[in-house]
Point group: C2
Chain length 253, copies 2
């Protein structure tokens, strides 16, 4: 009897935004694995640190940041081999996934290596996409809106075409592409329809109208939300619940 590989979403950052199910599986696990950069602590682990016990075995999967976008496959080969040893011995392994495991996450690299040999269970998580709308106090999309998720690395032409086609958009993986993305949104005439968020649900969360953000590099955990129907709907401020009631724009009827 082999163990089960669990991919559990740990949510956007606030430790309280993990599900009861993920919490149960995590706290009863003997082996816990998570990705970590080569220059700092694991964000996924930091989210659930208070729920971990010294008795648990931890597997840190060091992913070199320089190739983070298209990770060196040997890192995942090695991690999958390590995890497989535990699974073969009958031990379950819980992999911590920031946000949701299957929403642009790196969990799929382990999943594709292990799912043909071992039982796998995915526990969905609260995505930063939904947490960002909550922080902005603005619906992501409503009624029959088309909502498009656009990765920040897309070039200007492709991004403009996507923005043209949708009613609402979320631009993820902003990071070092911030300046170019803001220029593109400005060219699309949507600067006043865009809100910028970083580190949502964490104590140092930022919620700012895109036009008011200082130029430069944004952190990796940043996102831009755009809603075409409502101009000037986000005010520059850091306390989301103080956002002007005008923020809602035409979301309702």
């Amino acid at each position: 009897m082999s163990g089960t590989l669990f991919g559990i979403g740990v949510g956007p950052g606030d430790p309280e935004l993990i599900s009861l199910k993920a919490h149960r599986i995590l706290t009863s696990a003997k082996v816990v694995a998570y990705p970590a950069p080569d220059d700092g602590p694991s964000f996924a682990r930091s989210i659930v640190a208070e729920y971990l016990s010294p008795k648990q075995t931890e597997i840190e999967i060091i992913v070199p940041m320089r190739v983070a976008r298209f990770p060196a496959q040997d890192v995942y080969d090695k991690a999958a081999d390590d995890i497989a040893e535990y699974l073969k011995s009958g031990e379950d392994v819980v992999v911590l996934c920031e946000g949701d495991p299957f929403f642009y996450g790196s969990f799929m690299y382990l999943f594709e290596r292990l799912s043909d040999k071992f039982p796998v269970e995915i526990v969905p998580g609260i995505s930063s996409l939904m947490a960002s709308a909550a922080a902005l106090q603005r619906p992501l999309a409503a009624r029959n809106d088309v909502l498009t998720i656009i990765p920040g690395p897309l070039n200007e032409e492709a991004m403009l075409a996507q923005l043209e086609m949708c009613d609402a958009a979320a631009i993820i993986k902003v990071g070092r592409h911030f300046d170019r993305i803001r220029d593109t949104i400005s060219k699309a005439g949507l600067l006043n329809n865009a809100g910028y968020l970083e580190r949502v649900t964490l104590p140092n969360q930022q919620v700012i109208a895109l036009g008011d953000v200082d130029a430069g590099k944004a952190p990796y955990f940043s996102i831009i939300l755009i809603y075409k129907g409502a101009e000037n709907w986000v005010q520059k401020q850091k306390v989301p619940t103080q956002i002007s009631p005008d923020a809602l724009g035409d979301a309702g009827e």
Copy 2:
């Protein structure tokens, strides 16, 4: 001191997929409100029924199903008035939201009526979008994929244009539009790239290759996931963890 309006996501259906935070707020609330159809019980309430106490005051917001897509605004006017009375008296009111409050949810109709008068806190939830990918054991999107959320009521021409532009898509609000949507997906040449899911995370969950679904009306809580890069990636079956390992397709590298 007025009370706070809480909009809390209760997740896709499994009571264990509510967050620790939503659970805490719900179980300490004295007043709980939720939408319900005029011909049956409230789905949102059924998700968290085991956490409710007879001591809590419940406000049922009856939304006539015939106008569910564009709800009669007087229903929300009345509900907002009822809720406002509690808030004015200093009592918090917790509104239960299926999935996530701001992902195509009806919570915005209350939010727009109350957020200029009372403090509001939104607690994001696990969306059926993420829960569907987990049930299908297939990433929603990866790397630099563009993922588009398409409401089922969109006409064929608009839907074809959206499917042309994206790398992955989720079609929500399928319901009575099922046959037309499947025809459209077939015209786009994507029938073998599409999985159909209904009632995800509930005991009667269905996960079926779209081509194998019996024609006819699908339940309101159904969704279609499309991934362009991988044909034949979903097999007809009801037990997600038995999906073929081929299901992963080209998700990884």
